[in-house]
């Protein structure tokens, strides 16, 4: 151990230094998570990155222990889940945490995404950061879908049948893809087995992409509610302890809400019929996906007409995947140089309209298409509401956003974060940022 190898300085014992000079894990953590400078003006919506990290770990942990007791066999799967609920010590807690965990994972993901949209977090230089996030969303959806099949209840089976059949819409290779997904000619034991294997694999893929997401974040730095880049140390605070503390508060509140559901209403978000074992000869009256897929399901069903030579089924599938596809190219659709909706008087309104549109899409996805929307107006059916909201979804991203960038007149931006935060929020004043550290 010559003195020359020990160049990274840092604090800690001799052992820590010895390791760090060979494998700089300690200095990496120190640099990326402790000293890492974050804008000082995050609001509570910036908690969701930490919350999502926690949720991923919670899902993997509960999932591994569930997998120790679960049997992926069509004859045994349903009973093995009930055995977990009844005979495994705290098995009910593991399963309810895992099932409600999926719901709260999606709640956090959707808040995280809409936060990114409101504050323009996807804009340069954070395009790849955003796109990696969309990849995570896709993987998360695939994982959630396959996980829902595992208990082998009625909705597991019929949901799997409906969703896997979507791929048969693809010209030429569609049927082969479906056979490959099923491992046979219907949803059956081979399907359950491969879904179990992939459901165990995918969270680790998600983990990998999350690491890339965080690496990208640490290159560009975080966006903030003003959407103005930090200009110097007066605009930032060290991530630790300021944001580790703030994230802990948000996480504790989030987990409290989740715990209330886990312990007092564990089946609130679930479909009752999934407590009936899968019966391939008994079709449920209503087949619906879990709530977090409903907006996409609504878009799928709303395209019930042929578009030129594309038949309705394929068009619906394309529209559904297109709904996520437009998110991939969002950084290039939004032409406005201003990030935060705070300074975009028109975009601000359209953001809230889009959010409302997505909520209505979720409502539409959960209703029979020929139900009337309002009692007393029989001519206006759910499917019509689906047409309107689906149109608006794509109109917002493909037409409105590019046009807004040209026609919208943004409000003046503050010169810096510290000016806006410390100077009473008056934008455009000439005052220079004053030094921040009081203590």
């Amino acid at each position: 151990m010559s003195a020359g190898t020990n160049q990274t300085g840092g604090t800690g014992s001799g052992l820590v230094k010895w390791i760090d000079s060979r494998l700089p894990v300690f200095s990496y953590m120190q640099k990326e998570y402790a000293e890492f400078e974050a804008p000082r003006n995050f609001n509570w919506f910036w908690n969701f990155g930490a919350i999502l990290t926690f949720m991923l770990v919670l899902m993997i942990m509960t999932g591994i222990f569930l997998a120790m007791q679960y049997t992926p066999d069509t004859g045994l799967a349903f009973d093995s889940v009930e055995r977990i609920m009844r005979d495994v010590n705290f098995g009910w807690l593991l399963r309810y945490l895992h099932a409600n965990g999926a719901t709260f994972f999606f709640i956090a993901v959707y808040i995280h995404m809409f936060r990114g949209m409101y504050y323009g977090s996807y804009k340069g230089p954070r395009e790849l950061l955003w796109m990696l996030g969309v990849v995570i969303l896709l993987l998360l959806m695939a994982t959630a879908f396959m996980g829902y099949v595992l208990p082998w209840g009625q909705m597991s089976f019929w949901g799997a049948t409906v969703i896997t059949n979507l791929f048969s819409a693809i010209p030429l290779v569609g049927d082969s893809i479906v056979t490959l997904l099923w491992g046979g000619f219907s949803v059956d034991n081979p399907t359950l087995n491969r879904f179990f294997a992939l459901h165990y694999l995918f969270p680790f893929l998600i983990f990998g992409v999350v690491i890339l997401h965080v690496i990208a974040l640490h290159v560009t730095g975080s966006n903030n509610p003003l959407g103005v880049d930090p200009k110097g140390p007066q605009d930032t605070v060290p991530f630790h302890p300021y944001y580790t503390m703030k994230d802990s508060v948000g996480l504790a509140v989030f987990v409290t809400i989740m715990a209330a559901f886990v312990f007092f209403a564990p089946n609130f978000f679930g479909e009752p019929e999934n407590y009936l074992e899968a019966a391939p000869l008994v079709t449920p009256a209503h087949i619906v996906p879990e709530w977090y897929f409903l907006p996409f399901f609504a878009i799928l069903r709303s395209i019930d007409f042929n578009i030129w030579f594309v038949d309705a089924k394929l068009a619906g599938v394309l529209a559904m995947f297109g709904a996520i596809g437009v998110l991939f190219i969002l950084p290039w659709l939004d032409k406005s140089p201003v990030r935060s909706a705070k300074f975009r008087p028109m975009y601000k309104w359209f953001f809230w309209i889009l959010l409302l549109d997505c909520i209505i899409l979720g409502y539409v996805g959960g209703k029979p298409t020929d139900d009337p929307v309002f009692a007393g107006a029989e001519w206006f059916k759910i499917i019509h509401l689906g047409y309107i909201t689906t149109f608006w979804y794509f109109f917002h991203f493909l037409i409105l956003l590019p046009l807004l960038g040209i026609f919208e007149r943004p409000k003046p931006l503050p010169k810096s974060i510290s000016e806006a935060v410390l100077g009473g929020g008056t934008s455009g004043s000439a005052a220079t940022a004053k030094p921040m550290e009081k203590a």
Partner: protein, 261 residues
Amino acid sequence: MGIVCNLRRAAAATGLITAAALISTSAFAAGDAKEVEDQDWHFEGIFGTVDKASAQRGLQVYLEVCAGCHSLKQVAYRNLADLGFTEAEIKAIAAEYEVTDGPNDEGEMFQRAAILADAFVSPFPNNEAAQASNNGALPPDLSLQVKAHAGGADYIYALLSGYADAPAGTDVPNGLNYNPFFPGSFIAMPPPLAEDGVEYSDGTKASIEQMAWDVVSFMQWTAEPEMEQRKKMGFKVVLFLIILSAILYAAKRKMWSNLDH
């Protein structure tokens, strides 16, 4: 409840299902069933517990009435200890049923009396036998029924106590029975409960409503045997998390007060 109600009334993607599907007699139309009344159950609320006296009577109703057709596969006799039965009582209940065990040393299967560790013995050896004896309809397993229907306990209670004469002009299909609470109104199960159909050992009058109430209390327990432990633990966990959140928030405020903002 909005999301859940929407989900429950939600749509079939029938256009997308290429698999051929037989529709059971029970799945005609879900929309036209009579509104289920909200009942005041002992197990409701965050401090709700199992009404053991009622659930014990419910076990009697299950064994003497329902068990003729309905299995209870997820529950073992030993689980009855949760309802306050003694070991001797449970052994006596189990001993009245026979299970096939084996193979023995000679490689033969043999019959023996059920023991504590056995699951409730099913009335039929398999689904096909159950259907053959029930006009083609499959009597569902009762272990999870309370969790498997949108109305939960209220729905099962309404169904069991809600048989009525069909309105004039309604043609009840052969082999089915009229029940306004059942989706489609025609149910394969004949009215299972009759006034004084069982004789309660505790002297409770066995009206149809009373028996329906008791058997639903019992079925709620079979569906969620962990409920009391779950709610008890939940109270402590949520209380802890609320206090933790408050302390963390106070610490955060103290820490951030060092900064100008």
